[in-house]
């Protein structure tokens, strides 16, 4: 094995094991535990924790800085980044939190991390021009048979309770008293231009977007939305999604 590789294996062990013993062969006599090793260890931990704090700001604000930094440092040791592009770091942070014993008293926390992750992913998603309302001004039967493309930044997800509402409230500058509604709720996150837009999505909206994602026609998606909530105002739902920039394409099939 080349010496550079041997040194790097030893150095990584010294970082993980919190002792300079693995790199003893490269240290002068009398420098058994040099302070410098802690400097590298601390800088690496800070780099990971700062990246997670930037990527999971709502979750961080809910638990406070000390709790967040302690948990994030532990996550970073168990699940270090694999890329230098730390803006994408923390893909499995929400799943890890769900199994993190100190978070057991905070059952909403993994969902907060998951929602932060959806937001951050939308922020850095590919660009696409959202379709304006005019693109949908078609004969009714042509419109019903068309298949829309969701904007590449768009994310949506359903939850068993009002976690999306809690997350949105926690993102306000002065959230005050927050409550978790027991009713199922969904979230819509999309970045049609420079700003990430997020809002609660109702059952009809969730059914509609799920159908579109699964390659349904607009007619099929509207039917799915009506089945999810017979009282939903489907025209308003569709208009709101267009205004949010939810669509970036419309395949008219054989009806160009």
């Amino acid at each position: 094995m080349p010496e550079l590789q041997a040194f790097q294996d030893a150095f990584v062990s010294a970082l993980a094991e919190r002792t300079a013993a693995p790199i003893a062969a490269w240290l002068p006599e009398g420098e058994a535990e040099p302070a410098g090793l802690s400097v590298y260890r601390n800088t690496i931990a800070k780099g990971c924790v700062d990246a997670l704090a930037a990527n999971f700001p709502t979750m961080a604000s809910l638990v406070g800085e000390d709790w967040f930094r302690a948990a994030a440092a532990l996550f970073a040791r168990q699940r270090p980044p694999h890329s230098a592009a730390l803006l994408a770091y923390g893909e499995d942070f929400a799943d890890w939190l769900a199994r993190f014993p100190p978070a057991a008293d905070l059952p909403y926390l993994p969902a907060m991390a998951r929602l932060d992750r959806l937001w951050t992913t939308a922020l850095f998603a590919p660009e696409a021009e959202p379709l304006a309302a005019e693109a949908f001004a078609l004969e009714p039967e042509v419109l019903a048979g068309a298949r829309p493309t969701l904007h590449p930044s768009l994310a949506f997800a359903g939850f068993d309770s009002g976690l999306p509402g809690l997350w949105l409230a926690a993102r306000q500058p002065d959230p005050g008293e927050m409550a978790l509604s027991p009713e199922p709720q969904a979230i819509l996150i999309v970045r049609p231009a420079d700003t990430v837009h997020s809002c609660v999505l109702d059952a009809a909206g969730l059914a509609f977007l799920t159908a579109v994602r699964d390659d349904a026609t607009l007619g099929e998606a509207i039917t799915a939305a009506a089945q999810a909530d017979p009282h939903a105002d489907l025209a308003s739902l569709f208009a709101a999604l267009i205004a949010d920039g939810a669509f970036s394409g419309l395949d008219l099939g054989d009806n160009p």
């Binding site: 550079l4 790097q8 302070a35 850095f124």
Partner: protein
């Protein structure tokens, strides 16, 4: 994107996201900006659009922190491809990286880690720089790191190692004067001797940043980028520029980031230093 490298060389500022609007609007003469490409390795989003708008008005430098040139492995293919895409899109006047490693067996350690400067390491790192330059289609500058461990087993001192890399690969040097100061203090050598050993013709850029003391209680100085540039570092900078002549000089600040005008005042001091008639 027509901004060319300023001649004579001028002073720049590390671009922080909280300063985008002021960076776009400022009329400062000769100002250029530098970013870590890793912060822009995204498919899209407002960060890239801000950089595009600022680049349309100012020269830009890409200063990498994650290519891991001193790893005993080829540069990561995806990372290099992402760097190439940014270099093609933003046409920076310089691309730089560090004489350090951070990625090892697929795990990224967000720091600039040390290694024994052996002949074996020289071969490997020269190869990694060559591969990087081949992919980018341009030469890069390589920066001296800040050091915290008194490693043994070196075949070269750092200045000689860097000079050998420039000979073998055609790369240039980015001299971080604060890193020289910090490393010299931590490892017990003279910063002046180190700086004097670097050949003027190899130096393409200079970095200035602040350092701090080790909160762990040791006597080590830490390259925090969280404070103004120290007077002792300004003195070394002046000495270096007097010897080699003006070079594009960057004020780096990555933590405890103050208001834009505060950083611009430091940048203006470096700018004034470069424009002194004695250096021109």
């Amino acid at each position: 994107m027509t901004c060319e490298i300023p001649m004579p060389p001028t002073a720049g500022l590390g671009l922080k996201s909280q300063h985008y609007a002021e960076a776009l609007d400022t009329a400062a003469e000769g100002l250029w900006f530098e970013v870590h490409p890793e912060n822009y390795m995204a498919a899209g989003g407002p960060r890239l659009r801000w950089l595009e708008a600022i680049r349309a008005r100012r020269p830009l430098s890409l200063h990498g922190v994650g290519l891991s040139l001193a790893a005993d492995a080829d540069p990561d293919h995806d990372h290099l491809a992402a760097l190439k895409a940014l270099a093609d899109r933003f046409a920076p006047f310089v691309v730089s990286e560090h004489l350090a490693w951070s990625t090892h067996r697929g795990v990224h350690q967000p720091d600039l880690l040390p290694f024994p400067r052996t002949r074996d390491a020289l071969e490997r790192i020269a190869g990694n720089i060559g591969r990087t330059q081949d992919v980018l289609g341009r030469t890069i500058l390589v920066e001296n790191p800040s050091l915290y461990l008194p490693l043994t087993g070196h075949d070269f001192d750092e200045a000689d190692f860097l000079i050998e890399l420039t000979r073998r690969t055609g790369c240039g040097l980015l001299v971080d004067v604060n890193n020289v100061f910090v490393s010299a203090s931590n490892l017990g050598y003279a910063a002046e001797t180190y700086l004097d050993a670097l050949p003027a013709e190899a130096i393409g850029e200079i970095h200035l940043a602040g350092h701090g003391v080790d909160e762990g209680g040791s006597a080590l100085l830490i390259d925090t980028h969280a404070a103004p540039v120290a007077e002792a570092v300004w003195a070394l900078y002046r000495r270096l520029v007097r010897r080699i002549g003006p070079r594009p000089t960057l004020i780096e600040r990555d933590d405890d980031i103050p208001a834009f005008p505060v950083l611009m005042a430091e940048r203006d001091r470096a700018h004034a230093e470069l424009l002194e008639p004695a250096h021109a």
